[in-house]
Amino acid sequence: MQPFLDFLVGFLNQLVNGISLGSIYAIIALGYTMVYGIAKMLNFAHGDVIMVGAYISYCAFQYWGLSPLASVLTAMVFCTVLGVIIERLAYRPLRQATSLAVLITAIGMSYLLQNIALLIFKSDFKNYPKEIINVPSLTASLYGRELKVSGVSIVTIVTTIVIMVLLTLFINRTKLGKAMRCVSEDRGAAELMGISVNKTISVTFAIGSALAAIAAVLLCSAQWNFDPYTGSMPGIKAFTAAVFGGIGSIPGAMLGGVLLGVIEILGGAYISTQLSDAIVFLVLIIILLVKPSGLLGKQIREKV
């Protein structure tokens, strides 16, 4: 019985870690999936907007003397503006271009952001201030064993739930949210309703980038340090999560993100730490073989 209880409590601890990491992936994946759903493009610079958010919140707290909350808000505002500018300057002129041209541009934008950060901040790791998310961890006793949830995990999970609820309400209840669904489904028909496609795409980039700033704070608080490449791996993982859940689907991105985090942590804990990323992608390949549209990807056939 004792080894089983050790295993059980250990498993629960890992599960919480997985959900926490997965929540961060979910927030980032929302940016990918919304932009894909509405602008029909893969914004590979999204991960690097996270990195920018990390530096801005760091500077705001460390050098500009802002409070933790004000630092986070500053990063959100900066990233929102940055996302809209990137779309306006780099992607909008390519609206009629082939998707390959847009993809290459997005990759170029990703390198541009990384290299600007390298120029300004150099390549060394910076310690992310622990004071930004300063919440005590929660400890419970289970069969005499310790079940511990860190403060950052609590904040991450709560934030993610709030974002999911607000975003779902926004998409389903507000005029702008409904306009986004229309553009996502049929750009031409949306225009005939009087919806400006350009404006809708700008709003999508704004929301995605603001979420990226939140993800930056959560991610850096969890891993304590960051550098100009901080955004790229979580960006790729979150993109994977979006595909996993069904790209274009908002609930899919949430589910895909959380599952990806859980698989990564549990795979690392019980199979192999070195192979945890490989396990994640193996699961993705299997899911896509069985269901090519992803877990919640929709496919309604058109009726005639």
């Binding site: 306009a179 489904e185 049929d186 028909a189 225009e191 005939l192 009087g194 919806i195 009726k303 005639v304």
Partner: protein, 245 residues
């Protein structure tokens, strides 16, 4: 629906002059001129590829003409862009219906009234539901689950929600069973009787000519005949080419 009266009844509501449209190097519409007056149903008929839908899409702002002018209610509207046309009083019920498949019937209709203030939507919804009682029954159903005929009704109702001065219908009978075609044309007649001005594009020339006041016959991007719809219906050339007699 007819609250938007033109100031000058002698001026045509829509006046298209010498319209030229290209798809890349292909000259699809070669100098089309047409007029629609307040309260009329005007139809454009012609074979597949004659340029009917291209003409409508250009008027709606989805395509840019290389040459020519489009004047709606005395205001030049060419180059306005599709998303602003509905604010100018023009709505297009597009070919293939293009109902929002993942939205409910009610949401589809609300999107039709996107250009209008929120306070006016409810009364328009009631008006549309009284014209299309079937849609009222299906109010909460998802668009993609409706039958083809119901989707066509929804697309037409959605186009009406903006209270257009001119409603353009592109192939409303396409892909529908004969009984539904009759029903759709019945609705078009009713809309006409209640004062809605309609520009109708149809491959079903027989039906189109029987409801329209006037007609234009299109062949490979040019207007080859025009005039009173009832007279064109009796015309030998039209009969041979489009009515299979």
């Amino acid at each position: 629906m007819s609250e938007n009266k033109t100031v000058n009844q002698d001026l045509p509501l829509l006046k298209v002059k010498d319209l030229h449209v290209y798809y890349g190097a292909i000259h699809a519409v070669k100098g089309i001129s047409l007029e629609v007056h307040q309260g009329e149903i005007v139809t454009l008929i012609g074979a597949n590829g004659a340029g009917k839908s291209t003409t409508l899409n250009t008027i709606a702002g989805l395509l840019k003409p290389r040459q020519g002018s489009i004047v709606l209610d005395g205001v030049p509207v060419d180059g306005t862009g599709a998303s602003k046309m509905v604010y100018k009083g023009l709505s297009l019920c597009p070919e293939g219906r293009r109902v929002f498949q993942h939205m409910t019937v009610r949401e589809n209709l609300e999107m039709g009234a996107y250009s209008r203030p929120k306070g006016e939507i409810e009364s328009s919804l009631e008006d549309v539901f009284s014209r299309f009682p079937r849609l009222k029954e299906r109010e909460k159903q998802i668009g993609g689950t409706l039958s083809g005929g119901e989707q066509q009704m929804l697309a037409m109702a959605r186009a009406l929600m903006s209270k257009p001065k001119l409603m353009m219908l592109d192939e409303p009978s396409m892909g529908l069973a004969p009984i539904l075609v009759d029903q759709i044309f019945g609705i078009i007649k009713e809309l006409h009787e209640s004062g809605v001005t309609i520009l109708l594009v149809e491959q079903n020339a027989q039906m189109a000519l029987s409801v329209a006041d006037r007609a234009y016959v299109l062949e490979t991007g040019r207007i080859t005949m025009s005039g009173n719809a009832a007279e064109l219906l009796q015309n030998d050339d039209v009969q041979k080419a489009y009515l299979g007699n």
